[in-house]
Symmetry: C2
Subunit: 317 residues, 2 copies
């Protein structure tokens, strides 16, 4: 009898759905972080965010369905054995992360961070002209599910949208211009808003370096809701403190939590949130449960899995 | 020869447009605030934000085209004589004010104001679950040009939108439910977001009083980008400090500038901007110039004016 280890919080209805998706399996439910080495070693399927260190290239594990979008922690050598198929939950995060990114974008365009600072000193003072997203060119670097949803919102607000993608594909109707990653440097000088949601992988490490920040308009704003590793933080610090970039907002940093002595904290024109962009959707748990049920059923029936990750690229196949 | 006093900043092209719209008139250009009593008394047309105190119910003044949306300062007895038609610039502000209001809405839903406070203390700390606008019911109190544009944006982001309007009209496709002002109390308990953009007039003074804040959900957020007079600030203070309302953001206050000793400044769950919501659009000057040219030409030709204000209600006719 195969074992399914469930680390996603499940109510009775969710458990019933799961158990009928893979009849004949044994189900073990654990709170995230409370799974034992034995639980992990015995499992043919793990649903939820297991500690990668516990997996140890298990030969038993056939399906690992994580509840996050980022796969980097599971791609490292020695984490997953050759039998394991990794599936992520990318689609579930599109709305909450894109909304968080849009909130950051508008906050910077309207100087709301500066007005919050004023408020602490009871100061009623104009902090410079606001900018309208309706008049901006927005570059979305990483046009996956999150990037697409953000692009759709920006377009609905009247922005001109440039999408940057790894692989050629038809241009969605809410994107004005679609280019490949290799053309990033061509389009950066056009963008008033640069939004990036790159996953962590070899090619994306410090993708935004000094040279790329120098290609941006001096009045551009930069938003990162992907992985902190995509940004050279020293270069970001220099661009922001040296007036090479108007403002930035980041939900992710190279080291998380961002150390208290990081010089980034004190930049007035930088907004920092502590990797929380995915926490908003009431229906998030529901989407992740649906995905888990669907993939568990597919696994039990030997059918193709949704969101299976290509282990050589880290992206969904 | 009739005189047109122009207080809107105009470049050469704008002046040429104006002058050809009313040939045979004398044009006087002044910086706003630098118009003399004589300039005002001699003018048949004033284009731009003249100081209401200088008008003194001038008998000469036929058309006053202001560059703001709010008309309250010109409705007071003794300001405009019976011959004067007042036109406002309501449409020009729809996008910038609606974007500012949306920025405030998302800031509160995502706790960005609290993360800004954290940042000042170099603290990487979760401040509670974010909420998705896509899962909110949004009530727009005052469905004029600004309210409509905000409703359109909220709808594009997936929200359910309730519009509250003074006069019956067909329901726009981006509004799920349209009600009249008298039904406000019925719909307030349904709303996660209450956005108001009421102009200042007799019926709107302290429209949001203790009773109305008590009708809102305890986890609702409240946004005001209309006039400060629409809100009983003491009631707002009590609702926010007493946990009767989750958070609020206001661009306008009863007294502006908000006095430094106002207790509102120190509320953590209140965001204050200093009446800046209309400052964002690059094309704002252009729209206002267009409106001035159009109404000047209509006036010269004896044709109907755009945005003429009903002096008994303060609204566009």
């Amino acid at each position: 009898m195969k074992t399914v280890l469930v680390l996603i919080p499940m109510d009775e209805a969710g458990r019933a759905q799961l158990e009928s998706a893979a009849p004949g399996c044994r189900f073990v439910y654990r709170k995230r972080g409370e799974e034992t080495g034995e639980d992990v070693r015995g499992a043919s399927v793990i649903l939820g965010g297991v500690d990668p260190k516990r997996i140890g290239a298990s030969e038993t594990l056939e399906l690992l369905q994580i509840s996050a979008a980022g796969t980097d922690a599971f791609l490292r050598p020695g984490v997953l054995g050759p039998r394991t198929v990794l599936c992520n939950a990318t689609g579930a995060y599109s709305k909450p992360v894109a909304e968080h990114a849009l909130a950051m974008t508008l906050m910077l365009l309207k100087n709301l961070h500066l007005y919050r600072d004023n408020q602490k000193e009871a100061r009623w003072k104009y902090r410079g002209r606001e900018r309208a997203l309706a008049e901006c060119t927005v570059a979305v670097i990483g046009l996956g599910d999150i990037g697409k949803y953000y692009a759709r919102l920006a377009k609905a607000m009247g922005a001109r949208v440039i999408g940057v993608k790894r692989r050629p594909s038809p241009c969605p109707e809410y994107v004005d211009r679609l280019v490949l990653t290799g053309q990033t440097d061509e389009i950066l000088p056009e963008a008033d808003v640069v939004f990036t949601v790159l996953p962590q992988f070899r090619e994306t490490i410090r993708f935004f370096d000094r040279e790329r920040f120098e290609k941006m308009k001096p009045d551009a704003i930069f938003i990162n809701c992907g992985r902190g590793s995509a940004v050279d933080e020293q270069a970001l610090y220099e661009a922001l403190s040296g007036g090479r970039l108007a403002a930035a907002a980041i939900d992710v940093t190279e080291t998380e939590p961002l150390p208290p002595d990081s010089p980034l904290w004190s930049l007035e024109n930088l907004v920092i949130t502590p990797h929380v962009a995915g926490t908003s959707l009431k229906s998030l748990r529901e989407s992740i449960t649906d995905l888990a049920v669907r993939n568990l059923a597919a696994w039990a029936a030997g059918e193709p899995l949704v969101n299976a990750v290509d282990m050589t690229t880290g992206y969904r196949k």
